[in-house]
């Protein structure tokens, strides 16, 4: 009798949700989603992806989140939200409306809806963000999401999985974004492979950094992205009242079987990472050290998005800006990933510090990340962003240049007016920190 094929953690989730005893790369499986997250963009006028369903397979497993353009910048988005509210009402689907809103990947994290071992689908390509919680999450087309809403599931081709073996710890001045950029620089594109993070280096990474890394893996064309479920994840979920245990209610982490087959191993010693930036256009093939960027003058610096609009990003920005000012001729825009992050950042004093330094803090929205509102770039402008993507035209004009870097690199560069290695500003800030911290803000900069 043949022994059961050992499965990777991603394969485990695809097998469970498709009801298959085993799966292997190349198989097509039809999986039942544990959670479907719908965005207001689906309901836009002239939507190519939406026709109101007559049947909703599992309304209790669906969630509608308003996130891409909030509050509505024009009548079109307002109309989309009206349609979405009516749909939610009709089928009894929970919605996250203006006021409690946030970027969907942040909302599911805050509410404990990204759960270990589960399958979460959403019509946004950075849905892999929830992989930080050991949740197989990915973006699907809007049409597929409609299919998920109607039928409960959709198909996947089981893809090969790459093991990402992390060791060491990130040096001071480096963030999850730098670790991701270092991976992309060293290994390039994952080309439709799943990525499973493992190794002793994961333990020392904060959930914040893991979430940045998981989110960014969309930029190396990964399919599912999975971090292990460890105590960091367990404790975070436990604080939200979500516990491990048998279904329903409790989660079962996805763990790779011993001897599972991986297509490749990417090994990275985090202690070798330096602050990095990606030059405009894409991430793969474009990563350089921030110190080597040359004299890149900046019109705009942006901190925000699902990858880096977290409270930790506000803490970093506030600490760097304390006693300093954004350079003349450069604007700094900071957008929280949710109303909750915004509120926490206000209470911690971060918002006041950013504003006192000449930064603009906007309400929570995807906004400038996808060049829609709240910080759109004009012709010929140059931006350094801590958001997710640096495609041509991504943040507005196709003639604008978008560079990508960590929150620290973006804020330090906003102070300098050009791209710099943040450690140069950190060091200078350290010298004056003793005096400035008399204000007692105590930002947590780790």
């Amino acid at each position: 009798m043949a022994a059961a094929r050992p499965l990777t953690a991603v394969e485990r989730i695809l097998a469970r949700t498709s009801g298959a005893a085993s799966v292997r790369p190349g198989d097509i499986v039809v999986c039942a989603a544990d959670r479907a997250v719908l965005l207001e963009t689906l309901f836009m006028p002239n939507s190519l992806n939406w026709r109101d369903p007559l049947v909703v397979a599992a309304p209790e497993r669906a969630l509608i989140v308003f996130d891409h353009a909030v509050p509505a910048p024009s009548a079109a988005e307002a109309g989309a939200m009206t349609r979405a509210r009516a749909f939610a009402e009709r089928f009894g689907i929970e919605k996250v409306d203006v006021g409690g809103h946030g970027i969907s990947h942040q909302i599911v994290a805050e509410r404990g809806l990204a759960r270990p071992g589960e399958l979460l689908l959403c019509s946004d390509s950075h849905t892999c963000a929830s992989g930080a919680f050991n949740c197989a999450a990915r973006g699907v087309g809007g049409l597929e999401l409609l299919q998920v809403v109607c039928t409960g599931g959709t198909w996947f081709v089981v893809q090969p999985t790459i093991r990402v073996e992390l060791s060491g710890a990130l040096p001071v001045g480096c963030e999850g974004k730098d670790a991701f950029l270092a991976l992309a620089a060293r290994f390039g594109s994952a080309d439709n492979c799943n990525l499973e993070f493992t190794g002793p280096g994961v333990t020392g990474l904060s959930l914040h950094d893991r979430r940045t890394i998981a989110t960014q893996c969309a930029e190396v064309n990964a399919e599912f992205v999975l971090f292990p479920c460890d105590d960091v994840v367990r404790n975070t979920l436990a604080a939200l009242g979500v516990h491990e245990g048998g279904r329903p209610g409790g989660f079962t982490p996805a763990v790779a079987d011993p001897g599972a087959e991986y297509a490749a191993t990417w090994a990275l010693d985090l202690s070798t990472v330096v602050p990095q930036v990606a030059t405009p256009g894409a991430v793969v093939g474009n990563v350089i050290a921030a110190a080597d960027a040359g004299n890149v003058q900046l019109d705009q610096c942006f901190v925000g998005s699902c990858a880096n609009g977290h409270l930790e990003d506000f803490a970093v920005a506030a600490a760097l800006l304390r006693g300093r000012h954004v350079a003349t001729g450069t604007r700094l825009i900071v957008t929280p990933a949710s109303q909750q992050v915004f509120l926490d950042a206000v209470r911690a004093g971060y918002v006041a510090e950013i504003m006192a330094a000449g930064g603009v803090v906007t309400p929570s929205t995807c906004g400038a990340c996808f060049g829609y509102h709240m910080g759109v770039l004009g012709d010929g402008e140059t931006c350094l962003t801590a958001s997710t993507r640096n495609f041509k035209g991504r943040m507005g004009s196709p003639d604008a240049q978008v560079w990508l870097g960590s929150t620290r690199t973006v804020v330090a560069s906003a102070i300098a007016g050009r791209i710099v290695d943040p450690r140069t500003v950190d060091a200078a800030a350290g010298a004056s920190a003793a005096g400035a911290s008399a204000a007692g803000q105590g930002a947590r900069v780790t």
């Binding site: 109101d52 049947v55 390509s125 087309g141 049409l143 409609l146 299919q147 109607c150 064309n221 041509k392």
Partner: protein, 167 residues
């Protein structure tokens, strides 16, 4: 399923924001199609003819989940082949009824303006002008069925899960 048409050849890493820029969001389909490739190939939408085929390099369609397949179909694109596809674009192709055929090496055997034949059932791409061929991945029967059935909307409609379009 066999498709023949004149080729438009694109390089590597053609991304979703070039295919479907955010400026086109919310516009009626016939206006939205005017934005396709505006940033990287302005004027292309006026040259493309119904029945034409797109031949892309590696990672065609990388990036967002935007339903670019629907715009390409409306422009009359009969099929899309590429050295490799980003999976979201590939999925959106099937789901919008745009034939997609992943074919490593296809850009090496096709130049712009040449006529090509795509056999989605066998995965073979043939340059009808030069006779050169490249072997791609055949589309599994399940996906071919969704594709020939007109994509997801048509399928959901047939199953009574969504209403037919108004009017």
């Amino acid at each position: 399923m066999i498709v023949e048409g004149r080729a438009w050849v694109f390089g590597d890493d053609i991304n979703s924001d070039l295919l479907y820029p955010q400026a086109a969001f919310g516009l009626p389909l016939d206006e939205a199609i005017g934005y396709v490739f505006r940033a990287n190939r302005p004027g292309w939408v006026d040259l493309v003819q119904p029945g034409d085929v797109i031949v892309g390099g590696r990672n065609f369609g990388m990036g967002s989940a935007r339903t670019a397949g629907a715009l390409l179909r409306r422009l009359g694109i009969a099929a899309c082949t590429a050295d490799s596809f980003a999976s979201l674009f590939f999925r959106n192709g099937i789901n919008t009824g745009l034939p997609v055929l992943a074919c490593p090496g296809v850009t090496a055997v096709v130049e712009e303006g040449q006529r090509v034949r795509l056999d989605l059932g066998t995965g073979l791409v043939r340059n009808l002008d030069t006779g050169a061929e490249a072997q791609g991945a055949r589309l599994p029967a399940e996906l071919l069925e969704t594709l020939t059935g007109g994509g997801v909307l048509a399928s959901l409609e047939r199953r009574g899960l969504i209403a037919p379009p108004a009017r």
